[in-house]
């Protein structure tokens, strides 16, 4: 069992005392930790029957816990990939330690992810793999695809912000000049999760109240209660954000809007630009997303050179669109079939 997940698992343990929450999924025991780089962990899950030739790497957002991608057995994108015959790798960002405050994006890609993703190629004996990134995990996948195009077979961006000029109220807060961000991080090391959580709650301040009123009204519905509890457990089980990651997020993404700049996103001495992206791409947008508004996500006109571009748009919020029942029935199967098609196109001889 993961040491850094003790808090989250303790919470899950508590919730298990309620008989209607018996099935809350704890998938960590099924995973094999194939590699560790500092606090980052790479988890591997094997399908019962392998159908896809290349594995898929799921990258959750680095400001949240990773188990949102496998929240409940019936609300699990990870399980869906496994049932579709993919070998799945999951990047666990884990709770950052004090020493993680110095980890910059440059070092993350040059050292940590370089090792972890090499391990995927080594273990699975493949040259490339699929990447599916959720929210800011998509930004990580995008950067990796630009740095190592030959190692990425396809890229999926699930509610990932790209054009931060349309970043909603978070953008207004992040661009306010009076806050001395560097001093904020210097004083605290890693960005405290409470600040982030307050920011998200502040976007829709009345939502928490209406949510609990709704919960009270539907308290006798077992299915609803179970889903509600699982999602609430996740959304209040936060992690601090690595100090330098937080600075990159605010300064490069929100303030400079790097992806939309002529210079692009600066990673050390490299300028990464969307114009150089050629990896087959699919995106999933949520129509009612107040954290990543639809306008801020990637559009075909941003990457006209990408030949295989697929867009899914779903009604729902930031998380609802990702793991809701509509997505499970209609969008996930399409994501899988698109991924398999890309596999065939990219390497038809391996079939």
């Amino acid at each position: 069992m993961d040491v850094d997940l003790t808090k989250g698992l303790a919470l899950l343990e508590k919730t298990k005392n309620f008989d209607w929450a018996q099935d809350i999924h704890s998938f960590e025991s099924e995973a094999e930790i194939v590699a560790e780089a500092g606090t980052l962990k790479l988890l591997k899950f094997n399908p019962q029957k392998m159908k896809a030739r290349k594995p898929v790497l799921l990258i959750p957002s680095f400001i949240n816990r990773h188990y949102i991608l496998d929240l409940l057995p019936e609300k699990s994108l990870l399980q869906f990939y496994l049932n579709s015959g993919f070998q799945v790798y999951l990047l666990n960002w884990a709770e950052p330690q004090e020493e993680d405050q110095y980890l910059t994006f440059k070092k993350l890609f040059e050292v940590h992810l370089d090792y972890l993703f090499s391990k995927i190629r080594h273990v699975s004996k493949v040259q490339d793999f699929h990447i599916v990134g959720q929210c800011l995990g998509g930004s990580i996948g995008l950067i990796y695809s630009l740095l190592n195009p030959r190692h990425v077979c396809s890229l999926g961006l699930l509610t990932t912000p790209i054009d931060f000029n349309f970043g909603g109220q978070l953008k207004d807060w992040a661009r306010h000049e009076t806050l001395h961000l560097e001093k904020f991080i210097e004083a605290r090391g890693n960005a405290p999760w409470l600040w982030m959580q307050l920011g998200f709650l502040g976007l829709k301040p009345t939502q928490i109240l209406t949510k609990y009123i709704q919960f009270f009204k539907r308290r006798n519905e077992t299915h609803f209660k179970r889903n509600f509890l699982a999602l609430e457990t996740w959304s209040f089980d936060n992690i601090n954000v690595r100090g330098q990651f937080f600075l990159t997020l605010i300064q490069d993404f929100y303030q400079k809007n790097s992806w939309m700049n002529e210079k692009g996103f600066q990673l050390g001495s490299k300028n990464l630009q969307l114009a150089n992206l050629k990896t087959p791409l699919f995106i999933l947008n949520a129509e009612d997303d107040h954290i990543v508004p639809v306008e801020s996500t990637l559009k075909k006109e941003h990457v006209p050179q990408v030949k295989s571009f697929k867009k899914f748009q779903v009604q729902g919020g930031h998380i609802g669109a990702l793991i809701g029942s509509y997505s499970k029935k209609n969008i996930w199967p399409e994501m899988i079939s698109w991924t398999l098609q890309i596999e065939k196109k990219v390497s038809p001889n391996e079939a």
């Binding site: 590699a35 780089a37 500092g38 004090e98 020493e99 993680d100 405050q101 110095y102 980890l103 070092k107 050292v111 940590h112 370089d114 090792y115 090499s118 391990k119 080594h122 109220q169 207004d172 807060w173 306010h176 009076t178 806050l179 001395h180 001093k183 904020f184 210097e186 004083a187 605290r188 090391g189 502040g202 829709k204 301040p205 009345t206 209406t210």
Partner: protein, 113 residues
């Protein structure tokens, strides 16, 4: 009603006055922490005692080194497996040739028997 409350709160939290007030409060706290830490570190360094931040930095560097070593080991593994495959492929014709030779020798004996 709900949307109106939300609108009012959003207007308030987006207002320059609100943001400036919050930022001033956060900045004050940040500077207070930094100054206190600098004073404490100065005292500890004067006493030739280790400072926590230096230990953290060192730990980060050690971790980086550890990962780089793991990456080298991975490369080494990949190279050695490549080597063994190459060697096998070089040896294959020889083995095959030996088998062929053995078979050739065995053939007349079998016929004689």
């Amino acid at each position: 009603m709900e949307s109106q409350i939300e609108k009012v709160i959003n207007q308030l939290t987006s207002s320059d006055l609100f943001l400036r007030t919050v930022a001033t409060f956060i900045n004050f706290n940040s500077y207070r922490k930094i100054i206190l830490r600098h004073i404490l570190e100065k005292i500890l360094k004067d006493l030739e005692l280790p400072v926590r931040r230096d230990q953290e930095r060192l730990l980060a560097l050690v971790q980086e080194l550890e990962i780089r070593i793991k990456k080298m080991q991975l490369k080494d593994e990949a190279m050695s497996s490549l080597d063994s495959t190459l060697n096998e492929s070089r040896l294959m014709p020889l083995r095959n040739r030996q088998k062929v030779i053995k078979n050739k020798k065995a053939l007349p004996q079998k016929r004689m028997n």
